[in-house]
């Protein structure tokens, strides 16, 4: 008895009870669809998180963080130097495994204003041009600072599109893109000239939506006063904050905002951030060791610093994804299992109905193994058809999910989830068929033939 015939007879059996078979398959269909949907949601989350991480500077970015000195150095606490330009220079000279060192001097409580409009940017700091590579910025218009701007502490700035949107108007609102190069804005009351503007950073999904909107043409004007609909911001925080950035030359930041000193009249030489990029991720460990050695020199052995790598971030993303996958997988597996129980139930009912037929088959020469395989294949065929329908249904399911989830985490269908779903259904189908098949195979032909 070859497999083709067995499958054919199985299909015939299923076809002769279309509605019942469909109901039976429904468990598997929903199970597979929920498995694929779950995997798609998780994949979307993963994509969103990774995109945001890249927006924040990529995996090879290392943050130098200040931390309280260790307990045995408590008495040196007041001598801890913090992050200063000395560190930056030393790292650049003596740590070859560190590819990039980017100092940032943040301006506290910065407010940018123009013609009476005020706005608080997310980031406002004095930087070197290394910051472009460090934070993965792309300049769309104008130029970035050069060495002369730095040397002469010129009052120039480069802004993100978020600042432009706030002070000059959004392209969506004014109908054209304003490129405010050469315009003057005030940062904490001091005039600065805009010499460059970054591109608009957004997640892939937002980019797609924007492109779609652009294709649709101008939107119909909405009646009533101009208003923003809804709180919060679209896209991720990472993209939003990256767009709301104002950079000025580092030396300018020092001269205009720090050198005058604080209440005590002493200027604070400390930087807000020193960001590093390692030459290669494989060399992360030795590079950090090298940087530590250098910094221990400049800090006179006071260990008031630590490193924060995106590696941790990546790890935590992976861990979150793994957890989500596990819990989602268990739920989907349970629903598939329930589907399998449904199949077993129906197969048991079905062989009870067909005792006489099984008796006939045995009388004309079917062995127990033939019957066993027949029932098993039937169960497998039900589950496989269910699995394939489930895969088809998952497309629709994910379409719906795409409408429900935040745009940065758009669900993405993964082929792997489909393979796993189908394989698991096959296993469930075979397992569900075992007991009915065994029962059918053991039927005594004489009694089965007499059965009414």
């Amino acid at each position: 008895m070859n497999l083709f015939n067995t499958v054919l007879i199985g299909l015939k059996e299923i076809w002769s009870h279309k509605f019942r078979s469909l109901l039976t398959m429904l468990g598997i269909i929903l199970g597979v669809a929920s498995l694929v949907g779950m995997a798609a949601i998780i994949k979307g989350m993963e994509n969103g998180m990774k995109e945001a991480m890249v927006a924040m500077g990529g995996v090879d970015k290392v943050l130098l963080r200040v931390q309280p000195v260790p307990s045995w150095q408590d008495h040196l606490q007041d001598q801890a130097p913090g992050k200063t330009m000395v560190d930056v220079q030393a790292l650049r000279k003596s740590a070859p495994l560190i590819r990039l060192v980017s100092p940032e001097m943040g301006i506290e409580d910065a407010t940018v204003s123009r013609l009476g409009k005020n706005f608080r940017p997310e980031f406002c700091s004095g930087v070197w041009k290394e910051v472009l590579d460090m934070n993965l910025h792309t300049l769309a218009h104008g130029r970035f600072f050069n060495d002369i701007d730095e040397e002469e502490a010129r009052s120039v700035c480069v802004i993100g599109t978020g600042i432009r949107d706030e002070l000059f108007g959004k392209p969506e609102d004014v109908g054209k893109e304003i490129i405010p190069i050469g315009e003057q804005i005030l940062i904490n009351g001091q005039p600065f000239t805009i010499i460059g503007m970054f591109t608009k950073y957004m997640s892939e999904q937002d980019a797609k939506e924007a492109a779609l909107k652009a294709k649709e043409g101008p939107q119909k004007a909405v009646a009533g006063p101009k208003r923003q609909k809804g709180w919060g911001r679209k896209g991720g925080w990472a993209f939003w904050s990256k767009n709301n950035t104002v950079y000025i030359p580092l030396y300018t930041a020092w001269v205009k905002f720090r050198a005058v000193g604080d209440l005590n009249g002493v200027p604070d030489p400390r930087l807000t951030d020193i960001n590093l990029k390692v030459a290669s991720l494989d060399q992360l460990e030795p590079a950090l060791q090298q940087a530590r050695n250098v910094l221990m020199m400049t800090h006179h052995g006071i260990e008031d610093f630590t490193f924060q790598t995106q590696e941790n971030q990546l790890e935590s993303i992976n861990k979150q994804i793994q957890n989500a996958r596990l819990s989602g997988g268990i739920i989907a597996a349970i629903s598939l299992l329930v589907g399998g129980i449904g199949i077993m139930n129906i197969m048991l009912a079905s062989i009870n109905e067909r005792i006489r037929e099984i008796g006939i088959c045995k009388a004309i020469g079917a062995t127990g193994v033939d019957i066993f395989i027949q029932i098993l294949v039937e169960s497998l065929v039900v589950s496989m058809i269910g699995a394939l329908l489930g895969v088809a249904a998952s497309y629709g399911f994910v379409e719906v999910l795409q409408l429900l989830t935040p745009s940065a985490n758009t669900p993405v269908i993964t082929p792997m989830a489909m393979v796993v779903g189908v394989a698991f259904s096959a296993a469930v189908g075979v397992t569900a068929g075992l007991i009915p098949a065994f029962k059918a195979a053991r039927l005594d032909p004489i009694q089965a033939l007499r059965y009414e």
Binding site: N2, K12, A363, I364, G365, T367, P445
Partner: protein, 244 residues
């Protein structure tokens, strides 16, 4: 050597500690090409004998040789293969599979014996020609009359070219006229040299066969009851035709 040799065959059932001898020490030979009927009242062990002859069941005691091979010790799956290749069954209630059409029903035994698709179709068609149903190939059993269904069942029994054909009350569910047609079909098969065994309690059918075996209380009767064998009109000679 006979086609089927039964030696001291007994079949014993145990029902709640009580021993029931459905067959009691039966010795019987059936030669190739014979056309005979097994007769007997209900509960006489007629069906049990047929089940054992037809390899649907194994005896409790005694030996059976089919085609020179001892089969009383065969496993259920070995018995299934013997049924498949050497025995054809025709039942009272036709016992066709309702979801398969006529050709597929006839092809079924060959599926279990592993005949290739093309040969299966060829042989099924030939068998259906033989029972004059070559024009109803795609019909479902439920679309056929009783006589036609029984002819399909006969085609199915013939298709693996069995050594012996068992028919259990083959006309029991048919009207007289159709029954005669079916009976004529068996007679033709017998003329072609096939071994055919009819199990019946109908004297008129038993009268058709040259040899009659009567079972009474699990034993083969020495003398065939003339009325049961349908011979009451020609009582003389009944002994000659009886079981030996």
């Amino acid at each position: 050597m006979a086609l089927l040799e039964l030696r001291n065959v007994s079949k014993i059932y145990h029902l709640g500690g009580e021993e029931i001898r459905a067959l009691d020490d039966v010795t019987l030979d059936i030669e190739a090409g014979e056309f005979c009927s097994i007769i007997g009242p209900s509960g006489s062990g007629k069906s049990t004998l047929m089940h054992i002859l037809g390899c649907l069941d194994s005896p409790s005691r005694g030996t059976i040789k089919l085609d020179g091979v001892e089969i009383q010790k065969a496993s259920t799956s070995q018995l299934a293969q013997i049924r498949n290749r050497k025995i054809g069954f025709v039942f009272q209630f036709f016992n066709l599979l309702p979801k398969l059409n006529v050709v597929q029903n006839v092809e079924l035994p060959m599926i279990y014996s592993g005949v290739s698709g093309r040969e299966r179709r060829e042989r099924a068609l030939k068998a259906l020609e033989l029972v004059e149903l070559g024009n109803r190939l795609k019909n479902r059993p439920s679309q056929l009359s009783g006589g036609q269904q029984q002819r399909v069942a006969i085609a199915r029994a013939l298709v693996n070219d069995p050594k012996i054909i068992f028919a259990d009350e083959p006309t029991g569910n048919l009207d007289t006229h159709t029954g005669e047609i079916i009976l004529e079909l068996f007679r033709n098969l017998s003329r072609q040299g096939r071994t055919v065994m009819l199990v019946t309690h109908n004297p008129e059918i038993a009268a058709v066969t040259p040899r009659r075996i009567e079972i009474r209380n699990g034993k083969i009767a020495d003398k065939v009851d003339a009325r049961l064998a349908g011979l009451d009109r020609k009582v003389a000679g009944a002994g000659a035709a009886a079981a030996h």
